[in-house]
Amino acid sequence: MSPADSGEVQTVVAARRLREARSVFIGVGRPSTAAILCRMVHNPELVLVYESGTIGAKPHRIPLSIGDGELAETADAVVSVPEMFNYWIGPGRIEVAFLGAAQIDRHANLNSTVIGDYDNPKTRLPGAGGAPEIAASCGEVVVVAPHSPRTFVEKLDFVTTVGHGSTAVITDLGVLEPDADSRELTLVQTHEGVSIDQVKEATGWDLAVADEVAVTEPPTDGELSALRELVSR
């Protein structure tokens, strides 16, 4: 088997994060892949919740949208969007939320609205979607994002989502978690072959580094072959 690329490592690490979780709220893309992978190799009972209203979806393939037919057909329950937000997300019934973001700051505030000025944007992004209330309500937030100074910024252009106290950030370089005292996102883990300096250079603020930085246990053959099989479906 060819070695894992950095994106695969990121997905595998995100999947491991859900090993003990009961339920996870996911959007499309890498978070969805990670959550499905987790159901395949670690935690078959993991409940996948998509904001389209599907609770307990069991997709066999990676969905393109959060509302693909397979999600509705395999879900334990399908509810309306108002019910999803009011009865399920708002009261904090979903343990973990996987979110993406175009920008993130050291306090895990997220921007998915606009790059540049709101009224004269350089790049108009999709907007809030479910993120603000999902981040505020779920017990734990995991941001999955590519590590670059464009994404990890000193100051957000727009605060779409307020940082959640227990946010972890899983990137293609390593893992950031909030420091127990400062609450600032701190490098706690690097992926194999990634140096601390490399992570600091890819971060737009002066990244704090934990006293002990763990090195990611590389994807096992089982994880990697399951991931590749999933992606190929």
Binding site: L64, G69, G129, E133
Partner: protein
């Protein structure tokens, strides 16, 4: 009681220039056929309301039908940007549009307030975000606990348009699969149109079926395949390939225009 009429007549009668129009359907059952008919009828200055503008509003914005957009997530799900939406906001092409944006939870609650004929709904949200100064929300205190929550104003579209799998001859409608906010949109609007895959003699109750009686709907129109490239569970499949192709089609203004002329306007374009 809903009248069953051809789509062309339903749109001509129900959608006027300047209306606020909600074409809803959350990933599933997006009423593309009706939106395209609005374009062919040449409707202009619309306030387009939709949680997820998706390809349909990308097309309507790109064709210049929108004066204003009310939304919560303007992306091509799983693919990336909505290029016509971006071009309108970033460059004012084909003309500038106003926007009012919310979170999904905010929009969903705005529809529920509209459906209940209440002026607002209460939720936890928005606080601490930059959305507060760019949209219409107001803090509100719980009169029992003092907790500060957020009020969002009701949505009351002039017209709601949704797509469903089936209607019977009396215009009773049933949809199943992901129900989104369609029922709320219809109940919140002053007028409503439901396009359906098929008209049947009798609605057979389905697991997950959401039934809307014909007497809360103004018009029902048959539009087989009318939610494509999104889908109608059990009848059509989501055309994920087209969602990917749209990225390239929509990226270029000329290519977009040519595509719309060929596939939607059929020479009707003014």
């Amino acid at each position: 009681m809903a009248e069953i009429v051809p789509l062309r007549d339903a749109v001509a009668g129900l959608v006027h220039d300047g209306d606020s129009v909600a074409l809803e359907g959350f990933t599933h059952l997006i009423p593309f056929a009706a939106g395209h008919e609005i374009l062919r009828r040449g409707r202009r200055d619309l306030e387009l309301i939709r949680m997820t503008p998706d390809l349909l509003y990308d097309q309507m914005i790109g064709m210049g039908a929108a004066r204003r957009l009310v939304f919560s997530y303007g992306g091509n799900p799983g693919v990336g940007s909505l290029h016509r939406f971006r071009d309108a906001i970033e460059n004012g092409w084909p003309h500038p549009i106003e926007i009012e944006e919310h979170s999904h939870a905010g929009m969903a609650n705005r529809y529920t307030a509209g459906a209940a004929d209440l002026p607002f709904a209460v939720m936890r949200g928005y606080a601490g975000t930059d959305l507060v100064e760019h949209t219409r929300v107001r803090p509100i205190a719980c009169p029992f606990t003092g907790e500060e929550l957020m009020a969002v104003p009701a949505l009351r579209p002039d017209v709601a348009i949704v797509h469903a799998q089936e209607a019977d001859h009396d215009g009773n409608v049933q949809l199943w699969g992901i129900p989104g906010v369609q029922k709320e949109a219809v109940l919140a609007a002053s007028r409503s149109l439901v396009t359906v895959e098929r008209v049947v003699d009798e609605l057979e109750p389905r697991p997950g079926g959401v039934v809307m009686p014909g007497w809360v709907i103004d018009a029902v129109s048959e539009a087989p395949g009318g939610s494509q490239p999104s889908y109608s569970l059990g009848i059509t499949r989501r055309d994920n390939d087209f969602y990917r192709e749209w990225d390239a089609i929509s990226r270029d203004r000329d290519r977009f225009g040519a595509w719309m002329d060929e596939h939607v306007m059929n020479g009707v374009r003014a």
